[in-house]
């Protein structure tokens, strides 16, 4: 980690917490001036590279210094807005930075195919705003600032999802649905923050935590807790607040689905963890009760309900979207244990799930680019016609099931260890049974891809082809990560262990 801390010159490093958000925001404005998609993409690519480098450098700095605090505009916290990076949010910041970088590489051919040429510059502009918003939610230490960035990322996410209308008009209703539910979520969240402000007189999250610990809880803070959980739960697609997600993922442009699936819900989930464990104290009675009876229970129901719904889908992306809801259930179960091990397992699954779903949606995007595939039955024979993409798809799919030799196995292993540690035998059974459901729906996809013969066109077999190299590279990197981190899990395990200890350790 030592070399990471020295990645940037000291002058730049001092302002890295601000710049990591400001750079994509400025780039979004610049991208709006760009005359065509290529130029817009170039702006996005440069930005994503800078953000990835900054997040790596910040990882090194956090490993060295512990907590980094940056006072916006020189106004000292808690009065001013503080950007605060500790071991918990650096893990998420790194995830967003790296996956954003990989997704942008992937974007060029995919966006060129799916978005009208004159809209591409503005598309990249909206994407960069979304990117900046997600980074902002992750990095800020101010509760109201979380709301602002959450809305920045959501509003632009509605826009880029609706851009899928070029291929399928249902993207418009999907985006509208998401807009309504997302706005309700944001409203609930800001009401909760308002209650907290009323009760504590502070908006700085660390300061709120301190005041709550001193003054104890009353009805107002309990109401605040409920509003914040529902609001962020909606954004994170927590069962049963996930209704916006399947359509949004199924009809958005492929690049957008890959990006949002691997970052947006993860960031909202991080915000939830921050409030549950850092602002509120999990040892307080009502927080502890809601962890067990809301998070763990709803998580287990999600694991079964959403997996069962995934089995019966006909659209490939909708299937994976329902699977995402089920995977959020695993993370909720991890949190619901309310122990350091449980939180660590939840965070590990959060990162691993981003790596799996990123690769899966990227592969589906590649199939869609070459053959316009959307339905599961159209995946027939792709194992032979597009072998590289299909292999990446298979590795990530097996990882989603939790097969050994993939990181999915790691996540489930840690979840089971944490459940045993808590004495929740039923959770172990639920984890294993729902993995079997995952095996069914992933098996359905893989059977079609590998065992069925490719369709013939005018009497001739469809020829073997490959996705553009720009799509193959990020896809292969993610698929490789799915294998590599099984063999050497220490990096992710240390990262999430530090994250869990940062908010729950003694």
């Amino acid at each position: 980690m030592e070399f990471l801390a020295n990645l940037l010159p000291a002058g730049l490093m001092a302002h890295a917490p601000a710049l990591v958000v400001v750079v994509p925001l400025v780039a979004a404005a610049i991208a709006a001036f760009m005359p065509n998609g290529k130029a817009g993409w170039a702006v996005a690519m440069v930005t994503a590279t800078i953000v990835a480098v900054f997040s790596l450098a910040l990882l090194g700095a956090v490993a060295g210094e512990g907590v980094i605090s940056y006072a916006m505009g020189g106004w000292a916290p808690p009065a001013g807005i503080e950007y605060r990076i500790d071991a918990l949010n650096i893990a998420v910041l790194l995830l967003v930075g790296i996956l954003g970088f990989l997704c942008v590489i992937y974007a060029l051919p995919s966006v060129a195919d799916e978005i009208a040429e004159d809209k591409q510059g503005l598309f990249y502009s909206a994407f960069l705003v979304c990117f900046a918003g997600l980074l902002g939610v992750t990095i800020t230490g101010d509760a109201f600032n979380v709301f602002v960035f959450l809305e920045i990322s959501s509003l632009s996410a509605y826009t880029i999802i609706a851009m899928g209308a070029g291929k399928d008009r249902r993207a418009l209703t999907a985006a509208y649905n998401y807009l309504i539910l997302g706005t309700i979520g944001a409203t609930f969240f800001v009401i909760g923050v308002g209650f907290l402000y009323m009760a504590t007189g502070s908006l700085n999250m660390a300061d709120i935590a301190r005041i709550l610990a001193e003054n104890g809880h009353d009805r107002v803070t309990q109401a605040a807790f409920a509003f914040i959980i529902v609001g962020l739960g909606l954004k994170a697609a927590m069962f049963p607040l996930h209704m916006w997600l399947p359509n949004a993922y199924a009809f958005a442009p492929n690049f957008v689905t890959a990006f949002l699936a691997s970052t947006a819900t993860k960031v909202a989930f991080y915000a939830l963890v921050r409030f549950l464990f850092s602002v509120f104290n999990p040892e307080v009675n009502f927080v502890d009760l809601s962890l067990t009876w809301v998070f763990a229970v709803a998580g287990v129901i999600a694991m079964f309900m959403a997996s069962a719904q995934a089995i019966f889908q006909t659209d490939a992306r909708r299937l994976l979207a329902y699977s995402s809801v089920a995977q959020v259930g695993y993370m909720m179960l991890g949190l619901g244990m309310g122990t350091v091990l449980g939180l660590q397992a939840g965070m590990l699954h959060l990162i691993n799930h981003a790596l799996m779903k990123g690769a899966l949606f990227m592969a589906l995007g590649a199939f869609a680019l070459k053959f316009g595939v959307r339905e599961i039955k159209d995946l027939a024979g792709l194992g032979r016609t597009m072998p590289i993409s299909a292999s990446a798809f298979t590795i990530a799919g097996l990882s989603l099931v939790g097969v050994p030799l993939t990181i999915g196995f790691d996540s489930k292993w840690y979840l089971i260890i944490a459940a045993l540690d808590r004495g929740w035998w039923w959770a172990v059974a639920a984890l294993i049974l729902s993995s079997l459901l995952a095996l069914i729906y992933i098996g359905r996809l893989l059977m079609v891809v590998w065992t069925e013969t490719a369709p013939s066109h005018q009497g001739q077999q469809v020829k073997r082809t490959h996705a553009p190299i720009m799509m193959l590279i990020p896809m292969a990197v993610l698929a490789f990560a799915n294998l590599y981190f099984f063999l050497d899990a220490s990096f992710l395990v240390n990262l999430t262990e530090a994250a869990a200890n940062a908010v729950m350790g003694d």
């Binding site: 601000a18 710049l19 400025v26 610049i30 709006a32 940056y70 020189g74």
Partner: protein, 152 residues
Amino acid sequence: MSPHIILRVVSKLLIPMIVIFGFYVQFHGDFGPGGGFQAGVIIAVAVILYALIFGIDEAKKAVPPKVVLWGSAAGVLLYAAVGLATLVMPFAGEAVNFLDYDALHPDQSHHAGQHYGILLVELGVLITVISVMLAIFYAFAGRVPDIPDEEW
């Protein structure tokens, strides 16, 4: 003669007043209620009133959609540029944080840097808000209905 002569004359009188009031709200924002958001909406209203009375095409000639698009990005850039400027301008020999306006002017006793900072930032907000309001108006007003009105 147009049948709407009274509307035309009255709105021609009103439009400059609305713009001046908008700027009043804008510059009042440094010290009290007001600022770029409110002023931006008020100034955009002047253009929207013009479009309502003289037609959307005339309004698009006065404020072209391209300018609206550029304006909405330029305002953000101005705001961010102030922040980036504070990063590269050391204050009292030391580097300051993002958007620390004190760096903009050495006269600390009158907080001159803070004055300049908020003025420029509010100007950025004003430009973006005017542009975005007009962009929304143009998008709705310029939309051709899927089914022509006569066929309802």
